[in-house]
Amino acid sequence: MSNPVTIIMIEDDEGHARLIERNIRRSGVNNEIIPFTNGTAALDYLFGKDGTGLVHKGNALLILLDLNLPDASGIDILKRVKENGYLKTTPVVVLTTTDDSHEIKRCYELGCNVYITKPVNYESFANAIRQLGLFFSVIQVPPAAT
């Protein structure tokens, strides 16, 4: 792939972020991971200074999104990404503690590509992340659309 995929990780809990990163690396994915611990910073990065998302035109991104953020709702971020002309093709993986079926349904309705519940059981957790790494390695991430 000419343009390597950048993984945007929006996760307020640094511990979770570390665990996710570690397990992604363990699964052999070496893409760049840009972590954000709050929604505002992530949105600033995603949509650029002008707020249009033009900055990422032609970039291949993959978003790892936690729904429970201190300053913004993950659902809103998901919605904005999927409504943006440049970012809507970006795969979004929702990775969160919420396992409420309504929430899951809502995320899929808004265009989320994968919904993963963070299991407390670490084996399952690590397993899920590694599978995700595998998934990363096989999916074709289109560059942000024109």
Partner: protein, 510 residues
């Protein structure tokens, strides 16, 4: 208006009514009596008049006899003799009649006796005169007449009759006065009675109107306060619902936010576990190289698992033990949080009321438990049950939990007897699930419904969620539940649910 005032008013009305009736009765009786008396008096007045007329009659007859006698004396004509005879014959019967009429009055009787004597003397004189004429002794008669021997008798007759008349006149005046008085009294009594009755009726009407006004007022107030009450109830219900929603949201958020650090704790504990493996492997390797450096190369130390010894081994085991405790605690905490999450999720589920054949539903529930039933050597009896309109899933969970509990906490060694009964009362269906199990100490009756709380010997798996869940469901369905039990004597769980789905039930909210 207080009940005492109401009672007093009712008493007043009864009293007034009684007084009215009493007055009416007294007036009627009084009027009847007085009229009767007036009639008596009138009769007496008439009697007096009769006496007077009879007296006049008598005197007339005497005069007629006297005139006839004199005429006979003068003319000796036989028709005068006949007239005299007739008159003389009439005198005594007339006198008798008078006597009969005046017999009631001693004064008159005495007067009459005197009169009678005088009359008889006069009659005798007449008779003598007539006899003399018959014997042609007219002159003697005339002489006798002239001598006026009869003057005394005539005088007596005149005086006595005057006395009698005077007496009768007195009686007449008295009796007339009496009759008048009686009549005046009668009309006075009638008027007074009527006035009293009218007054009482007026007071009664006033009281009735006042009480009906008071009643109208009270009704209005009642209506108002009913409306107020409804509004208040609605407000409170809304408040409670809001509070409940808030608690649910709170529980939901808290459990989520608790789970988040738990993921970290578990994750890094596992990471530590891996580190521990690395560390102790290195320690072992180091220890080995230190103690036996020369012969190391030929042993494949890289591949084989290094063995720890002595203090190092102890250290490793302590490490493992500590990690084990941490992990099991995390697992437990995760289960509890999941339980809370499930409960709040259940609390948010919308109900779908359908008509339910309760017996069939419970039989189906029991069928899914066939394995536990046979394992516990229990027998489940289901009596005829009232059918209700409710949420099927909720009912399945309620009865499933209760029957499962009954099976779970049977006395060991005693075949279980579980009985499900039902009845209806005032729009509610009451279900009873009784068992002959180990029972619950009365001091734990409240506790068993609390989340994560259990009672008795803890020899069965469980989180202490079932009954809390059941009670929450029953409440949301608009019912209540209670337990009656004693240690070693079995338990009876009673569930009261509305037969018809209450329109105001909490199924409308999200």
């Amino acid at each position: 208006m207080t009940s005492e005032a109401r009672k007093r008013r009712a008493l007043w009305q009864i009293l007034l009514l009684s007084a009215g009736f009493l007055a009416l009765v007294i007036v009627s009786v009084g009027a009847v009596l007085l009229v009767d008396k007036a009639r008596d008096h009138s009769r007496l007045v008439v009697h007096t008049v009769e006496v007077e007329s009879q007296l006049s009659n008598l005197l007339l007859e005497i005069r007629r006899a006297e005139s006839a006698t004199r005429a006979y004396l003068l003319t000796s004509a036989p028709q005068f003799l006949t007239e005299y005879q007739t008159a003389a014959d009439n005198v005594l019967p007339a006198a008798d009649k008078l006597a009969a009429l005046t017999a009631d009055n001693p004064v008159q009787v005495e007067n009459y006796t005197r009169l009678r004597k005088a009359i008889e003397q006069r009659l005798r004189e007449f008779a003598r005169g007539v006899d003399r004429v018959k014997n042609n002794d007219v002159a003697a008669s005339i002489t006798a007449l002239r001598n006026g021997t009869s003057t005394d008798a005539v005088q007596t007759i005149v005086e006595t009759s005057r006395t009698i008349r005077a007496e009768e006149g007195r009686l007449f005046a008295m009796r007339t006065a009496d009759a008048d008085r009686t009549q005046v009294l009668a009309s006075a009594v009638t008027i007074a009675g009527s006035t009293l009755v009218i007054a009482l009726a007026g007071i009664s009407i006033f009281l009735v109107r006042r009480s009906s006004r008071a009643r109208d007022h009270a009704e209005e107030q009642l209506r108002d306060s009913n409306l107020n009450l409804e509004t208040t109830v609605d407000e409170r219900t809304a408040d409670l619902r809001e509070a409940n929603d808030e608690i649910q949201r709170f529980a939901y958020i808290v459990s989520h936010d608790l789970r988040s650090p738990l993921v970290n704790i578990m994750g890094f504990t596992s990471e530590l576990e891996e580190l521990r493996g690395d560390i102790f492997r290195r320690i072992a390797t180091l220890a080995r190289t230190q103690s036996a450096a020369p012969q190391a190369p030929e042993n494949a130390t890289d591949t084989a698992e290094p063995v720890l010894e002595g203090a190092d081994k102890q250290l490793s085991e302590d490490f493992t033990e500590a990690l084990g405790f941490i992990k099991s605690s995390i697992a437990k905490m995760d289960r509890l949080i999941s339980a809370i999450l499930n409960l709040t999720r259940e609390g948010r589920r919308e109900f779908d009321p359908v008509p339910i054949d309760t017996k069939e539903l419970i039989e189906a529930v029991v069928t899914t438990m066939a394995h536990q039933v046979s394992e516990a050597e229990a027998r489940i009896q289901i009596a005829p049950l009232p059918n209700i309109v409710s949420d099927r899933l909720a009912l399945e969970q309620i009865f499933g939990n209760l029957i499962d509990n009954a099976l779970k906490y049977l006395k060991s060694g005693v075949p279980g007897e579980i009985l499900v009964r039902g009845r209806t009362k005032l729009g509610f269906a009451i279900f009873e699930i009784s068992d002959n199990g180990r029972g619950i100490d009365p001091k734990d009756h409240q506790r068993i419904f609390d989340l994560f709380r259990r009672a008795g010997t803890q020899d069965r798996p469980g989180q202490g969620i079932g009954l809390a869940h059941v009670r929450a469901l029953v409440r949301r369905l608009g019912g209540t539940m209670s337990v009656a039990s004693e240690l070693h004597k079995g338990s009876t769980f009673t569930i009261t649910l509305p037969i018809d789905w209450p329109s105001s039930n909490r199924n409308t909210r999200k």
